[in-house]
Amino acid sequence: MKKYVCSICGYIYDESSGYPEGDISPGTVWADVPSSFVCPLCGASKSEFEEQDSPQTASASESSNLPDDISYSAAQLSAIFSNLAKGSEKQYKPEMSALYTELANYYNLKSEKVNNPDFLSLRNLLQTDISSHFALANEVARKNHDRGALRALKWVEAVSRMISSHLKKAESGSADFLKETNVYVCDICGFIYVGDEKPEICPVCKVPGFKMTQVRRSA
């Protein structure tokens, strides 16, 4: 009997135990698990699962190279400052937090406008992250023994793959899979959870569910 791991949150489907809560009896081999099966923790589709201990299929860096120098766009500056505002808030420094928020808002307004946005360009950007940026960044972080960067990359990659999976479901131009349920975004790692209720903990970063924000549907 084999085991299959959810590539997004790490949940393990064990063929010998099945998933009785979802009417999949013990001993059900992976091939016989219905294609409608989703990860009980994070909601990822069956196709996001990989056989445990199977050789990594992750592409070696198809290589984008490191840029020569570092510069920050207005949108990046906005993200730097909005994050520092959160950091100040956690230090109980409301004045400092408000000042950083002002800067974040200023750079938000200065951010490049996207004309004629489309889902295809969104998917392409995400695909470049998944096929090359992560491999490169992980390699560099490992080489420099940067534990914090590796942690962030692990979360961001899981969140990105889930977004990719959502976008795939909506490829036809409609997102019917959201119709009868709710959407939540984790305040800490950005994971998008689709489900009737907030999970007890975020499947990716494990923060308690109350740290997830519901995204309402406009009428």
Binding site: L66, P67, I70, S73, A75, Q76, A79, I80, S82, L84, K86, G87, S88, Q91, Y92, K93, M96, L99, Y100, L103, Y106, S111, E112, K113, V114, P117, F119, L122, L125, T128, D129, H133, A137, V140, A141, K143, N144, A149, A152, W155, V159, S160, I163, H166, G173, S174, A175, L178, V183, V185, C186, I188, C189, G190, F191, I192, T213, V215, R216, R217
Partner: protein, 330 residues
Amino acid sequence: MHAVRNIRLCTKDCLCLYVCPTGATDTETGQIDAETCINGCRLCVDACPSHAISLVPEVFPAQQETSVDVKKALNLLSESKTRQELTAFALAQESDDPLMKQMAQAIGMSNRIMAEDLLREAGFMLPQSDSVKELLHAISAENKENDFPNETVNKLIQLLNNNHEEKTMSKTTDNLMEAFAGESQANRKYLAFAKKAEQEGHLNAAKLFKAASDAETIHALKHFEVAGKIGSTIENLKSGVEGETHEYKEMYPPFVEQAEAEGNKAAVRTFTFAMKAEEVHAGLYQEAMDNLDSQEEVFYYLCPVCGNIEKFVPEKCSICGVPGEKFIKY
């Protein structure tokens, strides 16, 4: 460090109100009053049954260095994430389909959080760090636009500089405490030397040692005062309890064990006496804290051999066995 309350965890058991010496925990805002909270007191932290109170540091250590390559790699990714954020929010605005709109909105929010996390790890974790300060100076120097919020940036730079001054002061505080330790040791050392000189009949040398010993006391007291380590009596009693408790619980037991292993009987004896006496001292400090406002006069009796302190003259010392008549009254 002053105390802060995590409102989500607070179950309103109100033990913090019972123990707070200044009433700082009793506010209508849900938060503890930083102005009246006693620096580092932590009575409320320890008393809270739901662990809702913690001490927030005033000064943070310097951020760890992030390598340039890691910064570059994370920059590449965060650039892509902010681009996706902008695209998704634009889609959310333009889309007519409520479900696609909802999904795009969620993707936009998610990308902002990912970009924040990546940039945080790319050297901008701590709001007070040098890298943030450099960034603020850089955007202020580069920006020529009329609507650039100069005042906001300047205020921030000023706030961050204050933090830096506290840091340099804390180095001096460390130096003061090191000097305090050295001078305190010198005081006891010269006193021991003076005693020896007296025994040997070198009275002039004994006098000099005593005078020098007093001089070191003057230095030590001043250093300690300037370091800001003298609080109110209740704070000082608490510090006494902590110091003595540390000594009898953590410091002396391994010392005794080591001395026993080395067969150094005299060291075993002096360590054991001190360890037992410190435990008594901790109890007395605690008692004094509890009865600080009592008007009743109390007398203390010190054992001149082992340093035990009693509140009455015992028949003999409970630690070293010296007869009660040797005790010194305070």
